[in-house]
């Protein structure tokens, strides 16, 4: 087996069956990476990538099945080439799995942090996947129960709430949208951004640190990218 075969096999296995398909697959990986970076760097919870994650998770399953199937064969036959192929698929799986895991965990982290805020906002609830909604509700339920059992029941009635907003301080933690983020400009921006009376013209490939609030829409429009 020479390098060509390996490459061919790699193409077929990670991205069967056609070229156009393979391009789509690698686009999916790029989108996943982007979703992951955005989720990690933005202060608020973003929309769950429903279709993308479904495609990726399905492919992960397929590849795992492939590995399982072939590792049985591996013991019986003396094939050395299949071993390399499996190593490559395994490494790729590891890479994708890492991103998937980190993506989901980052979301759970934010869901935990902003539970009550998300719970109260219709707009925010739409960003969750069904599994995440279930997780959040269950988690909140358990948490409230725990608090009640452990100490709230011993406190005066008026101190029982967990979402008190009176007295100038809110108990509900919400994302801080003015947090500074790093962005890279993907294409020249027509309308200058105004910061404290100053106008900035953003040009392609420039890198800025500024408040998330100012570029939120540009991120969604994919004119700038979080880094």
């Amino acid at each position: 087996m020479d390098i060509d075969d390996i490459l061919k096999a790699f193409d077929q296995e990670t991205s069967r069956p056609q070229r156009s398909q393979s391009k789509l697959y690698s686009q999916d990986y790029d989108s996943l990476k982007k979703a992951w970076i955005n989720e990690r760097t933005s202060p608020e919870l973003l929309h769950y990538e429903v279709d993308l994650m479904e495609r990726i998770l399905k492919r992960i399953r397929q590849q795992m099945e492939f590995i399982e199937l072939n590792s049985i064969e591996l013991q019986s036959s003396e094939e050395k080439d299949i071993k390399l192929l499996l190593v490559i698929i395994e490494s790729e799986l590891d890479r994708v799995n890492f991103v998937v895991r980190s993506y989901l965990r980052t979301r759970l982290d934010k869901i935990d942090k902003f539970t009550i805020y998300i719970h109260n906002e219709q707009q925010e609830l739409k960003k969750l996947s069904p599994e995440e909604t279930e997780y959040m509700n269950r988690h909140l339920e358990i948490l409230v129960e725990l608090y009640n059992k452990q100490f709230l029941s011993k406190l005066p009635e008026s101190l029982h709430t967990l979402d008190d907003t009176s007295g100038g301080i809110s108990m509900i933690e919400s994302p801080d949208l003015s947090k500074s983020v790093f962005i890279r400009v993907l294409k020249d921006i027509e309308i200058p951004i105004v910061i404290g009376g100053e106008e900035i013209d953003m040009k392609q490939d420039e890198i800025y640190v500024l408040s998330y609030r100012l570029v939120k829409d540009l991120i969604q429009a994919e004119e700038v990218a979080l880094i």
Partner: protein, 151 residues
């Protein structure tokens, strides 16, 4: 011998198995790095444009495939180190400009940004909080923020 373009991680696996040689990227050469260093020293206010992942890629290639390089790896390593240091100094000097509204960091690479990130974000957010805390017409001066840091 045939050339093909593959993802770096795949190239490294194949290299480990002795099934390929890695073609060193054109910017990872003595000539280019020397030129970059020169530019970096000449223009004190801006960064020379290096690839987005130059530090990561150069480290991986120097570690895993030094035998594939046409130029002596130790020289490349030294040049990378020099370039990295001169850029770091420049970036640190730029931190003096930190304010609550925005900062421009063109041509810094991902690794370099990540080194600055905690510091920059922390200071800017703190400054912004101070800004909100004071009267709107009363400008907050930089000295009021805790600017002590070491990297």
């Amino acid at each position: 011998m045939k050339r093909a373009e593959v993802p770096l991680w795949l190239g490294l696996i194949l290299k480990q198995q002795d099934r390929c040689n890695i073609v060193t990227p054109s910017w990872l050469s003595i000539n280019f790095l020397k030129k970059a260093y020169q530019e970096e020293v000449t223009y004190t206010t801006r960064f020379f444009r290096m690839p987005w992942n130059w530090l990561e890629i150069s480290k991986m290639i120097l570690d895993k495939a030094p035998d594939d390089m046409t130029e002596p790896p130790h020289q490349i390593r030294a040049l990378i180190q020099d370039l990295r240091e001169v850029r770091l100094i420049k970036a640190r000097r730029g931190l003096k400009e930190l304010n609550e509204s925005y900062m421009q960091l063109d041509n810094l690479s991902l690794m370099e940004i990540n080194e600055l990130r905690p510091m920059v974000v922390g200071v800017m957010d703190q400054l912004r909080k101070l800004q909100v805390g004071t009267n709107e017409d009363e400008e907050v001066s930089d000295e009021e923020a805790p600017l002590s840091y070491d990297i």
